[in-house]
Structures are given as structure tokens and as C-alpha cells.
């Protein structure tokens, strides 16, 4: 069956360091992958989308990589700040062509320590 695993439930890092979050998947052939941020009591907020033919995508201090051979995406936050503390969710389209339907991982709770 299709499975998305975000390897760490929680990740604590020191302010200023680079946070790296992992998303692995099995039994999917996604055309793209998305990352969302979720703060307590709020809905997820879209951050980045990366297509299967893109190795890397950047947006300000965020970087996403997508390795379809390893079936893995890495999400990096450089120069991390306490304001980056949140849960980060990866999501794949598991519906097949056309209907655009995202399946989410459990998320990784990132805590940036001042």
C-alpha cells in the first residue's frame, strides 16, 4: 500500500543552524511533491512544490530536493530562527492523473532553540 514517512516526529536544533527534514515514500510514482507548514491551532500553509523532473527548488531560506530513485525529499531551512518552529508536512498526489488529491505525511515538529 502507499506510504509516506517523515522520519522524525520531532527535531530540535540550535538557532542559526540548518534544519533538514526527511520525507520518504513507497508505492507512489508522484509527479510532484509539496511541503506545508502547520502552526498549533492553524491549518497547513503551502511552502514549496517540486516536480519529479526538478532536483532542487529554493525559496528564500528554504530548499527542497526530490530524488525519485531514492523515493525521498529533503527539506532544508538555513539560518534557522525560533519563528521557524512549527510542524512541517510533506504531501504527495496519490490519486493518479487528473484529480489532484494530496496525501499527507504525519509531519515533523521542528523546534528552533534560541
Amino acid at each position: 500500500s502507499q506510504k509516506i514517512e517523515q522520519n522524525s516526529e520531532a527535531l530540535n536544533i540550535q538557532e542559526g543552524k540548518t534544519a533538514t527534514l526527511t520525507c520518504n515514500y513507497t508505492n507512489y510514482s508522484p509527479a510532484y511533491l509539496q511541503w506545508y507548514r502547520q502552526d498549533p491551532g492553524r491549518g497547513p500553509v503551502f511552502l514549496l512544490l517540486i516536480r519529479e523532473n526538478e532536483k532542487e527548488k529554493r525559496k528564500e531560506r528554504l530548499k527542497v530536493t526530490f530524488d525519485t530513485t531514492l523515493k525521498q525529499s529533503l527539506f532544508h531551512i538555513t539560518a534557522s530562527q525560533p519563528a521557524d518552529s512549527a510542524t512541517y508536512l510533506c504531501a504527495l498526489d496519490g490519486s493518479g492523473a487528473g484529480s489532484y488529491q494530496l496525501t499527507f505525511g504525519k509531519g515533523t515538529k521542528l523546534s528552533v532553540i534560541p
Binding site: 509516506i4 510532484y32 509539496q34 506545508y36 491551532g41 492553524r42 491549518g43 497547513p44 500553509v45 503551502f46 512544490l49 516536480r51 508536512l89 504531501a91 490519486s95 484529480s99 489532484y100 488529491q101 494530496l102 496525501t103 499527507f104 505525511g105 504525519k106 509531519g107
Partner: protein, 114 residues
């Protein structure tokens, strides 16, 4: 642009009672989703609408859950009768449905069934 609106924010009911949640998507967004997020888990898709038609409701427990999207705009999700395991946050999301447009989520309704 105004975001996705959901109400109520919180609801506490006893098991076997009924409850309804309301969602108003971003204006012009053709696609609307209802997700269930149990504490510590990622959002799980319950139902997807395209305009006022159902695209996928394969994960909706139809013996107790129902949803409608009248006139292709607002949507309601109902649970009758509720069970203890229905305690979760119910998230509504919308997207323009154009290409790989991201999902825009509301802040959800937190349901507690006692």
C-alpha cells in the same frame, strides 16, 4: 484575498449526537476538500468536490458522515451519530483547480466527542 473560512472553531458533543461544520472557500476556487486530522497525525482526505460534484469520497465513512456543496461554493460536513473516534480537527481546503495550484486551508473545527 480572503482565506478559507470555517465555523465553528470548536465543538464539544456527546457520542451519538450529530454535528455539522461549515466551510466557505476562497472566491473562485472550484475544488474543495474536507480533511480529518487526528492529534499527532497528518490530514487525511475525507471528500473532494469539483464545483458541486463529488470527485472522491472513498475515505468518507458514509454510514455516519455526509457532505454537500450546494451551488459549488459553501460546503457542509455532517456527522450523525458521532463516535468517540471522530474527535479530531476537521479542515476544509480549496484550490483553484488550475494545474498544480496549492491547497489553501482554513483553521479547522476542533471536535471533541465525549
Amino acid at each position: 484575498e480572503a482565506g478559507v473560512a470555517q465555523s465553528p472553531r470548536y465543538k464539544i458533543i456527546e457520542k451519538r449526537q450529530s454535528v455539522a461544520f461549515w466551510c466557505n472557500p476562497i472566491s473562485g476556487h472550484a475544488t474543495l476538500y474536507w480533511y480529518q486530522q487526528i492529534l499527532g497525525q497528518g490530514p487525511k482526505l475525507l471528500i473532494q468536490f469539483q464545483n458541486n460534484g463529488v470527485v472522491d469520497d472513498s475515505q468518507l465513512p458514509k454510514d455516519r458522515f455526509s457532505a454537500e456543496r450546494l451551488k459549488g461554493v459553501d460546503s457542509t460536513l455532517k456527522i450523525q451519530p458521532a463516535k468517540l473516534e471522530d474527535s479530531a480537527v476537521y479542515l476544509c481546503a480549496s484550490s483553484s483547480g488550475q494545474g498544480l495550484s496549492p491547497l489553501h486551508f482554513g483553521n479547522g473545527t476542533r471536535l471533541t466527542v465525549t
